[in-house]
């Protein structure tokens, strides 16, 4: 029984961390219409930033500042924000698919940078990070539970922040830009500035997710920032429902559960002779879920609730 709980805590931790990244993407795509195809670059910047700032010094590695954990995590978010600011200045004049291609390129460049820069750990990645408060709580279940609570608090904070943000006049402005940029401009708004703000804010949130991810595994390597992660995060948002924060979180839990449970179920119930093929079968199943979703419910499980203004919302 304790095993099941321990696994569920572990699963929920990873899913919560990914949820934070999906919420960041939801701000960019769901609310502002920015097609970020390079989620991993910002996720990775947060992850690498956190480990470099927070770990003790190692031979031939940049950083090793040994900052207190929360400061390191915050630093990781800032680094993600700075990367987003630079990328945003360069690419945000691009629209839709062009922006997607440009940001995808940024993500590939990021992966190649960390893979080749020995100062950033190279292909071997950064290991040997001491998880915060490990000495106090040991290494086992208690620690994982407390870390989950920590992640959950951050997820709730992010969620509440974003909910309030999109309910605010600024949130309306984001949607106005998403729907019709020229119209927004004619009302005296500056779409390019707002787009940049939303892009950076979303990327900082992804950086937070990356920092938590690297902390949880006490390790990060270029293998963690492959384009597949961008794809996974997008799949979670699309299935959950772009534009709806609840959908973003539910979509993450659902897709990640499908991703892991299908592997578990196949390993348990598939006959021995197809055991070797379960990996491939799993990919097919996941593909089916996503394609099916796009065909039959393209707006996602929890579609965006469009209201003209908060005051016009009818009770309930």
């Amino acid at each position: 029984m304790i095993g099941v709980i321990s696994y569920l805590v572990f699963f929920a931790t990873v899913a919560s961390i990914l949820s934070i990244a999906v919420l960041g993407l939801n701000l960019q795509w769901g609310n502002t219409g920015l097609f970020n195809g390079g989620v991993v670059a910002f996720f990775g910047a947060g992850a690498y930033g956190t480990l470099l700032l927070g770990s003790a010094s190692q031979d031939g590695l940049l950083g090793g500042f040994g900052l207190p954990y929360l400061l390191a995590l915050f630093g990781g978010m800032m680094i993600a924000g700075i990367v987003a600011w630079i990328v945003g200045l360069l690419t945000l004049r691009l629209r839709h698919d062009y922006l997607a291609i440009a940001t995808f390129g940024v993500a590939v460049a990021f992966e190649n940078l960390v893979r080749n820069a020995d100062l950033l750990g190279g292909a071997q990645g950064i290991r040997g990070f001491e998880r915060p408060l490990r000495d106090t709580f040991g290494n086992g279940f208690t620690y994982n539970l407390l870390f989950f609570v920590f992640v959950l608090i951050l997820l709730v904070l992010t969620y509440v922040f974003l909910e309030r943000l999109i309910a605010s006049p600024f949130g309306r402005l984001l949607r106005a830009i998403r729907e019709d940029e020229t119209a927004a401009q004619s009302l005296g708004k500056s779409p390019s500035r707002v787009r940049l703000t939303a892009f950076i804010a979303g990327s900082v949130i992804m950086g937070l997710a990356g920092g938590l991810y690297a902390t949880f595994y006490a390790f990060i390597s270029p293998q963690d920032v492959l384009p597949i992660l961008t794809f996974q995060i997008w799949a979670m948002l699309i299935v959950g429902g772009a534009g709806n924060n609840k959908g973003a979180v539910m979509g993450t839990f659902l897709i990640w559960a499908a991703w892991t449970a299908s592997g578990w179920a196949l390993s348990r119930f598939a006959p021995l002779e197809v055991q070797l093929y379960t990996g491939s079968i799993q990919f097919v199943l996941i593909g089916f879920v996503i394609v099916g979703m796009l065909l039959w419910r393209p707006q996602g499980l929890f579609p965006e609730k469009l209201v003209v203004s908060q005051s016009a919302k009818t009770g309930g």
Binding site: G3, V4, S6, Y7, F10, F11, V14, N112, R115, N116, G122, A123, Q124, G125, R127, G128, N139, G140, Y143, N144, F216, Y217, A218, F219, S221, P222, Q223, D224, L226, I228, L229, W259, T260, G263, W264, S267, R268, L272, E273, V274, Q275, L276, Y277, T278, G279, S280, Q282, F283
Partner: protein
């Protein structure tokens, strides 16, 4: 690809047979062990099938510590998140005390730091070669729970340099796969070559899945090297060699064991591989190694011509013997502590088949120690759970892959020491 498909089918069929065999010899209890391997990747399937094969043999020999072994296999998709989750599920939900895997160091490492070490589960990797594991162990962060049967890249790099010296090459260009394994071995071989006074004209990283490597190949051609060294996998290796030869590069080639595959040979063409020499750490000239090749050939309708197969077999066998030595209800730490009594050079030598397994169990039950003579020779772990190994060089021939020269463990160690 057709050949690959048939061999995969053969493996599937062999597994199906295996299931009938084990059911017949069913024990009263079952011990679960976990395996996290990249079964969704072509070359990962045979590695998993080989591990399952070793488990079947152990069950044939009456099981382990009185119980039948059930290997629960999970796919890593070569994705760290997925691999770690699979490992965590195996440890928490199935309660395994032994985890086999993973293949990529980038997957094995987070499993080690966030799953197996915190849970006190022993992890045995067949194929992770990164030197980072050695460093982590030296820092005392593995708690002695990590072992691997894949020699660190140092041995192969040294032998690669030795081949270049013996062939009389004066300049060599190095191509390496741009991952942890490739960067490791590429850097080491360049250092070794220079230590032998051989000029390294270029060290070129090869990224996965590019449509063409013309730019990389052209870069290497500039230095006009007498030979090339390749630490590449069959997919990129094929592409690089094709472009290299079509642009007029030399056919003098040295390669690490990852290219030891029929797929590579068929796709490049034998006529270009006459001066190709490969290195490997994994098939020493011992009776136990050839016994493995024979047994494998019988079981899977073909010789073990893929990376990591012998290592996967030994990893599984040694771990199972250690479980037996540790007795019923052993924890990961108990099992890890028994590795030494299974691979004791002064112990009773035992072979790596069902009879050997049964014999080993008897010796261990009597409180003795055994020296496991495996598919990769008499495996011996150092304090960090690393193995050194004798080496072989091999060549491609019309009929398959032939061993060229056997370099014993002593020769390897002496040669490596001479370069220091």
């Amino acid at each position: 690809m057709n050949g690959l498909k048939t061999s995969a089918l053969a493996i599937g069929a062999a597994l199906a047979f295996a299931s009938f065999g084990t059911e017949a010899a069913a024990q009263e209890c079952t011990t679960k062990i976990g395996a996290v391997l990249p079964t969704s990747v072509d070359w990962g399937k045979p590695i998993a099938a080989t591990a399952q094969y070793a488990v079947d043999l152990a069950n044939e020999a009456g099981g382990v510590a009185g119980c039948e072994i059930e290997m629960v296999l999970r796919d890593t998709q070569v994705d760290p998140k997925v691999g770690v989750d699979a490992a965590k599920a195996l440890v928490d939900l199935d309660g395994v005390q032994l985890l086999l895997g993973a293949v990529s160091s980038g997957v094995s490492m987070p499993i080690l730091t966030s799953v197996t070490v915190p849970a006190g589960v022993m992890q045995m990797s067949c194929c992770s070669s990164s030197t980072a594991f050695t460093a982590l162990s030296e820092e005392g962060k593995t708690n002695g729970l990590f072992y691997r049967t894949f020699a660190t890249s140092g041995v192969q790099a040294a032998v690669g340099a030795m081949v270049a010296r013996d062939e009389g090459y004066e300049s060599v260009a190095v191509f390496y796969k741009n991952d942890d394994w490739g960067q490791d071995i590429g850097g080491l071989v360049a250092k070794d070559l220079e230590a032998l006074g051989i000029e390294v004209t270029a060290s070129i990283a090869i990224n996965d899945a590019q449509a063409s490597y013309r730019a990389e190949v052209t870069e290497a051609l500039k230095g006009n090297p007498q030979a090339i060294y390749m630490a590449l996998y069959p997919k990129e290796g094929t592409q690089v060699v094709r472009e290299w030869i079509s642009l007029g590069g030399t056919q003098e080639m040295i390669a690490a064991n990852a290219l030891k595959s029929d797929e590579f040979k068929e796709n490049v063409g034998m006529q270009f591989l006459g001066n190709f020499t490969g290195t490997d750490t994994a098939s020493p000239r011992t009776d136990s190694a050839s016994a493995f090749v024979d047994a494998y050939t019988t079981r899977f309708d073909g010789p073990p011509n893929g990376p990591g197969l012998a290592n996967s077999y030994d990893a599984t066998m040694i771990a199972l013997l250690a479980i037996h030595a540790a007795g019923e209800g052993a924890t990961g730490a108990d099992i890890a502590a028994k590795i030494g009594s299974v691979t004791d050079p002064d112990g009773t030598p035992v072979s790596a088949d069902a009879e050997g397994f049964a014999a080993a169990k008897e010796v261990l039950d009597g409180g003795g120690t055994v020296s496991y003579q495996g598919a990769t020779g008499n495996v011996l772990f150092d304090a960090n759970g690393d193995v050194s190994a004798p080496a072989v060089t091999w060549v491609f021939s019309e009929s398959g892959i032939d061993e060229k020269q056997y370099i014993s463990l002593t020769e390897v160690n002496d040669f490596m020491a001479s370069m220091q």
